[in-house]
Each structure stands twice: as structure tokens, then as C-alpha cells.
């Protein structure tokens, strides 16, 4: 362990901005992908349900 304090860890020997932007953007993009897929899945299920409902009720 080479970090004396939390602030030392955040500063990253002067490269904090580059390091944390890299990891932050990567984490953001991957989490965003997960949430976008959840939304897409929910939407797909909702529409499938609708179309099944239409089919069962029949075209009257």
C-alpha cells in the first residue's frame, strides 16, 4: 500500500485528473449500457404483452 491518505490517493501523484476521468468515464459508459439494456428489455416486454393481448382479444 503506497497511499498515505485519501487525498494522496485522489491526487494520484499529480495525474488525478487523467486517471479518474479515465476510470470515471469507463464506469459511466458500462453502467449506462446496463441501464439502457434494462430499459430496452422492459419496453420490449411491454410491447410483446400488448401484441399478445391484441391477439388474444381478437380483431373485433
Amino acid at each position: 500500500m503506497q497511499w498515505g491518505s485519501v487525498s494522496e490517493f485522489m491526487v494520484m501523484g499529480g495525474y488525478g485528473l487523467y486517471v479518474w476521468t479515465s476510470f470515471g468515464v469507463s464506469a459511466f459508459c458500462m453502467l449506462w449500457e446496463v441501464f439502457a439494456l434494462r430499459r430496452r428489455h422492459a419496453a420490449a416486454i411491454a410491447e410483446t404483452r400488448e401484441s399478445i393481448h391484441d391477439q388474444c382479444v381478437g380483431p373485433r
Binding site: Q2, S22, F23, C29
Partner: protein
């Protein structure tokens, strides 16, 4: 020999694959989270400081795995595309379709973190380094595969056309990489390369490999999730079509 008795072909139909994928996703997601967590811990707390680059080198713990995954996923996508063309299998095309966006995402991340690493190391956001340039071209190829699919309305043709382009791309990627490297040495651009980091400590390598494994598991989980969306969206379209023809039949009567 219980394994042999399972009818594996049962799972090759989208209807059977859908629930199976749903059961597999939490496992892969959990393993991915654990591996990425361990990788980050080793990368930030165990791996020593690089005496040449200082702390900025820690970016490679996300950059290199992202770059590896971007190339690996392209090859996997091309294999599914080739299987789809060869066996005329719709699920293979759907798999290729489900992989592409994640591959493109990792390509983007590799480029972005490459720029973040390049600024403190080379003093410039972008250097026409062979690896970075090839990665940019890979992003174009992913974009081509995905855009070709979305611009063709007929799903059968969209599947096949984007599969052919994915395969053409996989033949070209090594040629492109070789040509860009050749061009790079001719013009004597940046001579610093990412792997030229002197004597990478074993813990650094471990962190990189664990992160890569984590990204791999993440890719599987996300691909399976997208596969489920694709199955639902396509089946909906076909059931919609069925419904439509049904209505027509009723009206004729």
C-alpha cells in the same frame, strides 16, 4: 455421460434460449463485478508506482483490457456472423448483432483512455501511434457493421449483409494493423509504445489480466441481455405480422 444426453440443439432456438440466457446473466454479472473489483484493488493498492510514468500508468488497467476486448469481441462477432452464413442459423446472426454495440463501446473506451494516457505521457491527446490508429479504424468497422444493419429493413438481408461485412473486416484488420505500423515506422512518429513500459511488475500484469477477465464476463452478461431484447423485438415483429395476416384473413371471410 449425463452431458451427452442433454439435447444441446434444444437451446439453439430463440424461444428456448431466452429463459436460459435470463438464468445465466446474474451469474456472469456477479463474476464480472467481483473480478473488476479485485482487479481495481490490485491495480490501485497492490501494484507499485511506475518509476518512469508515475501514477498515470494506472490508466492502462482500464485501457489495455478495453483495447483487448474491443479486438476480441470483433473476432467473436465475425465468428458468429460466419457461422450464421455457413449454417444459415438465425440465432448466430442475432448473437453477432448483440455483440457489436458492446465491442464498439470498448473500442471507444480504449480510444478515450488512450488519449487520457497519452496527454501526460506523450504530451499530446492524440498521437498517430499504430495501435491508436488501428483502434480508430476498428471503431469505423464496428460503425459500418451496425449502420449497415440498421439501414436495411428486411431483417434476413440485414443479418446476412452485415455478416459479410464483419467477415471482410476481420480479414482486413490484420492488414490494416500491419500497414499502419509500417506507415508509423516510416514516418518515425511516437517511438514510445504502450508495451515498451520497462519491466512490467508481476502485480501490474495480474491487475491487467484480472480486469480483462472481468470485462470479458461483463461482455458475456451484457451480450446475453441484449440477445434477450433482440429475441423479443424480432418475435414481436413476427407475431405482429401473424396478427396482421390473421386480421386480413378475417376480413376476407
Amino acid at each position: 455421460m449425463a452431458l451427452a444426453q442433454i439435447n444441446w440443439f434444444k437451446y439453439s432456438s430463440p424461444q428456448a434460449f431466452y429463459p436460459l440466457a435470463g438464468r445465466m446473466i446474474p451469474w456472469f454479472a456477479t463474476i464480472a463485478a467481483l473480478l473488476i473489483g479485485v482487479g481495481l484493488y490490485i491495480g490501485f493498492f497492490v501494484a507499485p508506482t511506475d518509476f518512469q510514468q508515475g501514477q498515470s500508468y494506472r490508466i492502462i488497467f482500464v485501457h489495455v483490457p478495453a483495447a483487448w476486448m474491443s479486438m476480441f469481441l470483433y473476432v467473436v462477432m465475425a465468428i458468429w456472423a460466419g457461422l450464421g452464413l455457413g449454417l444459415n442459423a438465425r440465432p448466430s446472426f442475432m448473437m453477432a448483432q448483440a455483440i457489436a454495440p458492446t465491442g464498439a463501446l470498448f473500442t471507444f473506451l480504449a480510444l478515450f483512455t488512450g488519449a487520457m494516457w497519452g496527454k501526460p505521457t506523450w504530451g499530446a491527446w492524440w498521437v498517430w501511434d499504430a495501435r491508436l490508429t488501428s483502434e480508430l479504424i476498428l471503431l469505423f468497422l464496428y460503425a459500418g457493421v451496425m449502420l449497415l444493419r440498421t439501414s436495411i429493413d428486411d431483417p434476413r438481408r440485414a443479418d446476412r449483409a452485415s455478416a459479410v461485412f464483419a467477415l471482410v473486416g476481420v480479414v482486413n484488420v490484420p492488414i490494416i494493423y500491419f500497414s499502419v505500423r509500417w506507415w508509423n515506422t516510416l514516418h518515425q512518429g511516437a517511438s514510445v509504445s504502450m508495451t515498451a513500459a520497462p519491466k512490467m511488475a508481476a502485480t501490474m500484469l495480474t491487475a491487467m489480466l484480472v480486469m480483462t477477465l472481468g470485462f470479458w464476463m461483463y461482455s458475456i452478461a451484457v451480450t446475453l441481455a441484449r440477445m434477450r431484447c433482440v429475441i423479443l423485438e424480432r418475435e414481436r415483429r413476427s407475431s405482429w405480422g401473424m396478427h396482421h395476416s390473421h386480421r386480413e384473413a378475417v376480413e376476407v371471410h
